[in-house]
């Protein structure tokens, strides 16, 4: 696979920042009340992430190693301020919906995490694709959570009524507890799929495999099948 495309795949699926790495949970839980908010927050974060990755990658030979974290924070905070001002000017309704969570993109661990783990070691082109992949992975996870919460809690999807009016929406899903429940359910489904795939692999390959972790997995799967 082309290494640029590989970065996209990595961010979207293999190392999805929200669902696999569990980074950036605060905005995921907080703004996923509507699918539209999820897209808005996701794309704002993506924009900041791409720009910060490129800037930090360009500066990677200039910034001294000892002060790299403060330097990254200043870069990210400046980019977030620019993004915040742009959203306030051109998308006032989104600005009102996301509120304090826009400036809080500064402390989103995905951004500093990618700067530290990827952008300061790779070329601007690759860092751009890494930011794009990670950002879109984050956007998809946020939108998915937002969609579930909006349909269950409000009966609408992207603002359009989808449930018949006779169905009473379950209001708890757009309130704070719903955020925890929906994300828990998404991760649980993903775990269940993971366990199934691992079991299939075990049936095919048996437990005599070479990997050191295999015994642990076998133990776990025996526990599962015992239930």
């Amino acid at each position: 696979m082309n290494k640029y495309v590989e970065r996209l795949y990595n961010g979207l699926v293999k190392e999805n920042p929200t669902l696999i790495l569990m980074l950036g949970m605060c905005p995921t839980l907080a703004v996923s009340t509507r699918a539209m908010n999820g897209i808005g927050m996701g794309l704002s974060t993506t924009a900041v992430l791409i720009l910060s990755n490129v800037v930090i990658s360009l500066l990677r030979k200039v910034i001294p190693d000892e002060v790299r974290l403060p330097a990254y924070i200043v870069v990210v905070a400046s980019l977030v301020t620019v993004t915040e001002l742009l959203i306030e000017a051109y998308l006032p309704s989104l600005y009102a919906a996301l509120g304090i969570y826009i400036p809080l993109i500064v402390v989103n661990c995905i951004i500093l995490g990618r700067a530290e783990a990827y952008a300061n070691k790779h070329t601007p082109g690759l860092s751009f694709m890494d930011g794009l992949g990670m950002g879109l992975g984050f956007t998809i996870a946020l939108t998915l959570a937002g969609l579930f919460r909006e349909v269950l809690g409000n009966g609408t999807a992207f603002g359009i009524q989808v449930l018949p009016a006779s169905v009473e929406p379950i209001a708890i899903f757009i309130q704070p507890p719903g955020a925890f429940l929906v994300i828990a359910a998404i991760i649980a489904v993903q775990n269940a799929i993971g366990i199934k795939t691992r079991q299939r692999k075990l049936v095919e390959g048996g437990c005599s495999g070479v990997c050191a972790t295999c015994s642990a997995q076998c133990g776990m799967n025996e526990e599962v099948s015992a239930k």
């Binding site: 569990m22 980074l23 949970m25 605060c26 905005p27 839980l29 907080a30 403060p70 924070i73 200043v74 905070a77 400046s78 977030v80 301020t81 915040e84 001002l85 304090i100 400036p103 809080l104 500064v106 402390v107 989103n108 661990c109 500093l112 708890i172 309130q175 704070p176 507890p177 719903g178 955020a179 925890f180 429940l181 994300i183 828990a184 359910a185 991760i187 649980a188 489904v189 775990n191 269940a192 366990i195 776990m220 526990e223 599962v224 239930k227």
Partner: protein, 193 residues
Amino acid sequence: MNTSLIMIVIGAALINNVVLNQFLGICSFLGVSKQMKASASLGMAVVFVITIASAVANLLYDYVLNPLGLDFMKTIVFILVIAALVQIVEMFLKKTSPAIYKALGIYLPLITTNCAVLGVALTNVQNGYNFLESILAGFGTAVGYTLAIVLLAGIRSRIHEEDIPAPLRGAPIVMISAALMSIAFMGFSGLSF
């Protein structure tokens, strides 16, 4: 006047609980709550840092940023102030009370990236709080955070011994516990003076 000050503390600690209602500081809430002792230490450190940070952020905003018309710089300035403050608090504690410093350990530097700290500083500005109100709001928020993380740590130590369906092990069951706590905390929204 007095009731409104009390209301700020109670509102920040219980009604608008920073973790369960506003989703700030979730990373450490989920990550550290494995152990009761670590949770309590982190809570202490957070109370310390957030209270000081809200005071400093308020002074900076009222006397430097706002008069100079540099309102838009607040995110950058606050995050740098918080990072510097955590460093200073760390050095200060190391010199004056090594016992507390040792108890807080790694959790002290990690607070810089806790979004609750920046969140409180920004909310205080948004609400137009004065110096005293900012300190109280910061203190209340931090107490709420400590309460939530210590409670979750207690619940998790019990969950640990239970037989949980495999897909729910790890993060999902912790989030479901947090959801139930959040529902319980919603009861506080009926509080008003």
